[in-house]
């Protein structure tokens, strides 16, 4: 498993059609809000986070990933009843990390994606928990088994999702 970027192709920045940048986050938000109505366990997924990870690690632009992650997180905050900024902070930080790592490592291999996604999901939940528990002083649960399961499920879904999004790339 090649973890580090070993070729110019792997380190090149890639691009997508403009509509993909717009519709993919909106679709992620919409599905995240709509599907749990009929499949309650779907809420264990965090599609906006997976989208942030994918675009950040693929585009390898830390500033864009930070701002994009912040905006998507704020939009996700707006759908909840908690104060705006909880998901925004977490996803901005995850976007920055994913973009920074994407410059240095090969983010197109399955192994790398599995490991990075698992770590980022756990880190995202940890930031959420710290902010809600200690900054907002609101009750929030943390169970290691649940969090690990959640991260594993999101990782498995991310492999499929990333493969689908790879098909939307516009290579030059």
């Amino acid at each position: 498993m090649a973890l580090m970027a070993s070729s110019r192709r792997e380190a090149d920045t890639q691009s997508f059609p403009f509509l993909v940048y717009v519709l993919t986050p909106l679709l992620a938000l919409g599905l995240q809000s709509f599907v749990p109505l009929h499949f309650p366990h779907f809420a264990v997924l965090d599609l906006p986070l997976l989208v942030v990870i994918y675009f950040a690690s693929t585009l390898r632009a830390p500033i864009g990933a930070t701002i994009g992650g912040a905006l998507l997180g704020l939009a996700q905050d707006a759908l909840t009843h908690q104060p705006l900024g909880v998901f925004g902070i977490a996803k901005a930080f995850i976007g920055y990390l994913a973009a920074s790592l994407g410059v240095r490592i090969d983010t197109e291999s399955i192994g790398t994606r599995l490991m990075l996604t698992f770590i980022f999901v756990m880190l995202n939940d940890a930031i959420d928990w710290i902010l809600v528990r200690h900054l907002l002083a609101e009750p929030i649960a943390w169970g290691w088994i649940y969090q690990i399961l959640r991260a594993a499920i999101n990782t498995l879904v991310a492999i499929i999702l990333f493969a689908l999004l790879d098909r939307l790339k516009s290579r030059e």
Partner: protein, 506 residues
Amino acid sequence: MESFFSRYRNALVLIGVLVAQLLALAVQARRPAAESADQHTVSLARYVVVSVITPPERLLHATGHWFGSLWFGYIDLIHVRRDNAGLKQEVERLRLEQASLAQDAQQAQRLQHMLGFEEHYIYKTVPAQVIGTGGSDQSQVLYIDKGSEDGMEQDMPVITADGIVGKLKDVFPHTSQVLLVTDPTSGVGVILETTRIRGILKGREYGQLQVVDVSPDSRIKAGEPIITSGGDQVFPRGLPVGNVDNVVPDPEHDPLVDVLVRPAAKLSQLEEVLVITNLSDAMSPQEVKDLAESEAESEAEQKRASDVLAERLPSRIDPNAPADTNPEQLVDAEGNPLKPMVAPKPDRPDKFSPNAEPDATEMVPGQRWAPVKEGTEELAHPRQPQQPAQNATAASASGTAQETTPGGSTTPVHANTPAATAAPKVAVGAAVHSEAPSTASETQPGGSVKTHVVVDGPVSTTHKTVTLPPSEIPAANQAKPRSNPQPAPDNNSPPQQPASPQGGQR
């Protein structure tokens, strides 16, 4: 300096974004949402996102609803006529039942008004479709397709037919956000229906429900229903909440316990909800009409029941019927009356009438004027003629007895008087609830009398043997050497015969 910014540009942007959001979070956390000055800004941000996200959701929901209607409304219509007829009958039955319940509720409402309570009843609800969720398992919220233009307001309770769901948190023009009761930040005042224990219902992690900080009580059993208490000023009183699932210790507030609750409403599969938009004690015209019909029917049923009862039972007292001399014979073996009942006639004049007693200046100390309590004998009255000797039976608990004189008249003898205690007079019925001594005498050689005196005191009975000289023996008692106490007369026993001049004892 320029190289510093260019070198750490990415990190600086990250720090700037994070600090800005942290400041925004701090502002929102410091000021409650309702009092915040920038509430408009926050609402605007939410409004923008909700306006972008919810229309596709409404479209998706409407599409799914259309397909569902197509199937269930045109294709899957087997047995619909039969179901319709059954449902109509059910509606009629429920309307009558509702009217009956409304009558009870009206009565309870009047009583509670008397007690100073202000009771709210559900008057108007608006059905709404659930079109989305908060999208996070940390935030238990829903979105419905009704907003401020449909009359929605903040903090309106949301329910289903099964139980409570939550309350409206944010209201947009065409959409509203519902905060579920399973959210950890929600709170509902509840009562455990059987044990009447009050508590606060809050959300637990992973969408569970619990009544927090309840005093340990062994009466709390699994399955006990829980209803709203109305104390939160959001939910009306008496709505079903759920059932007790388990009782677990509260780790943060020992020795209090948390009561885990199984919600009555299926919160994970909500499609339609009802928003209570008006709480009022008034009734709708239909309810008033149903109530009037129910009252009329109830009166008719009561009248029919009273007529049936009148035919089965002896109804009136016949004034021309003979006097009831032996009531037991009027009843058969099963207790059913055989003859019309007649009012019993008094066997003696009333002595309890006002002004029947003499003035206090005419009373003699130690002499009773009131009749005895449990006996049938009445006391002599100085201004009234003496009762005949047939009534001379028992004395009283006050220690009085009657002395039968040879002339047939009786005079009261008080147990505390020397005449009652020392002289072996014949005390009629003195042993019955009496402090007066009863006597048993036998004539000794020389004319003296050896008398066995039995004194029934309030606590114990004492036996004494007294020898009296012949000079102290009254003539009446000398003729009768032994006298046994007479038991208390029974009210049902036949009237006693007049006492004999020798003492009236047989």
